[in-house]
């Protein structure tokens, strides 16, 4: 290759070739860096979306448990209709809100969180009320439903934690230099985490 170029190409041409190959190298390097950054951002965004799907699955699981729970409680504590209706209302309100995490604004996430928080509070009140009915508490089905509900609440907390972790990883990538330049060009934006809930996470007050 070396002998070939020295024979066929004059020195001035040689310089041009060298400059051209340097440029080509630079372009390729920046492309490979970009594609690397870009792929990483895509992967992390996918992870965020997947974790969000997990969160929604767990919320849906809770929503699916509620009709069964309400029916069971109704059989023993029919005159707690107010509490029961509150649960149903909160559930139907929460299930109406579905959001796409790629486009969700912080306000939308907050609205979603608030609606689900209301379900948590209504359920908490229902379970607190059910403490007053020994027959209900002794009911096998109710005990198992309660366990399922508690398990689901735990799963919700865990999936939210994992979602927040994924968002944090992604956000750090998006904001770091030089990734932020590529993120800006390709339109990767910062995503919103779940805030620690002030109201909904609080254990419901039990009044006797």
């Amino acid at each position: 290759m070396k002998t070939l170029s020295s024979k066929a190409i004059t020195p001035s041409q040689q310089g041009r070739v060298r400059g051209g190959s340097l440029l080509l190298l630079l372009v390729m390097l920046s492309f490979s860096l970009t594609s690397c950054t870009y792929n990483k951002l895509v992967e992390q965004e996918e992870t965020v979306q997947q974790k969000w799907a997990d969160v929604q699955t767990q919320y849906q699981r809770r929503a699916d448990l509620i009709p069964n729970l309400v029916n069971t409680v109704k059989g023993y504590a029919a005159h707690e209709s107010e509490t029961l209706e509150a649960v149903i209302a909160a559930r139907s309100k929460a299930t109406q809100i579905t959001i796409d995490p790629t486009k969700a604004t912080p306000e939308q996430i907050a609205a979603f969180q608030a609606a689900q928080g209301e379900v948590s509070q209504a359920l908490g009140r229902l379970l607190a009320v059910s403490e007053n009915y020994p027959d209900l508490k002794a009911n096998e089905q109710f005990s198992e439903l309660q366990a399922q509900l508690e398990g689901t609440e735990n799963r919700i907390a865990e999936s939210r934690r994992l979602y927040n972790e994924a968002v944090q990883t992604y956000n750090v990538s998006v904001r770091k230099f030089p990734n932020n330049i590529w993120a800006m060009i390709f339109g990767f934006e910062k995503k919103t985490m779940f805030a620690a809930e002030a109201g909904a996470e609080k254990a419901p007050e039990v009044q006797f």
């Binding site: 198992e144 309660q146 366990a147 508690e150 398990g151 735990n154």
Partner: protein, 304 residues
Amino acid sequence: MKRVLLILLTWFVAVSTLMAAIYTPDNLPIPYLQDKTQYVSNPDGILSQTTVDSLNLWLGQMETGHGVQTVLAVVERIEGGETYDFCMALAHKYAIGSKEQNTGLIILLSTGDRAYYILTGRGLEGTLPDAICKRIENHQMLPSLREGDWDEAMLNTVRAIKAYIDGDDSLVGSSDFDNDDATALFWFCIAMLLGLILIGVGIWWDHRMKSYCPSCHQYKMKKISSYTTKNKRLGIRTHHDTYRCSNCYFTKELHWDEDLHSGSGAAAAGGALGGSFFGGGGRSFSGGSFGGGSFGGGGAGGRF
């Protein structure tokens, strides 16, 4: 003064024993890591040895048969008293269960906190749904717990869990045990082979160096005579070997000492090596490792 000191000492001992009985996910002993047949962590000796042995046997069958990796802990007290948080922290710390199946299982009983929890890995949520966990607790665990019969509570619980696990054919057994042993054997063979090659090369090199003729630089020296002298006081036998080059007839003498005790020493070392190999082959002393299973928060718990 003496009495004050005595009181202080008693108080200190009482406090320290009380402190030792409160476990955190970090200081809870996990015997499995040292010995992979030990699934039960019973640091306060709450369960009897017979119970622990039975539980270990069943939990071992669950791992070999269905790949379910369990940590069963029975303690006096846990920090914070929240069994779910404790189990979850354990799950995160050790990643119990296989990575492919996520079949980790944690069973915790804290007798002092009067609380228990069965935490299921993601892969077990189908086999052991929360409702089933609760049912097992209500029927198998609670009656015995109320009577303070910890042994019976744990035996019944694990028996019931095992029945559910055995009923699920989708859970694939771990071949970890056999795999580990096969891998160990493979590496042992490789090491043996390498050792033999090294010894062979050494012997060949020794022979070549002895046959080197410093006069004509050819490898044509041959041993023509040899005799030994013995020094009993020092325990040394000296070899006197005479070599002659078949090319230029150059002659050289080699003298080397042999330690008379080293022969028996080598035999002893060989024996020790063999012994340690066969000892290491025994399964009971090899530690286990957790597979990297993840937990989503499934399971159920309660208080009594």
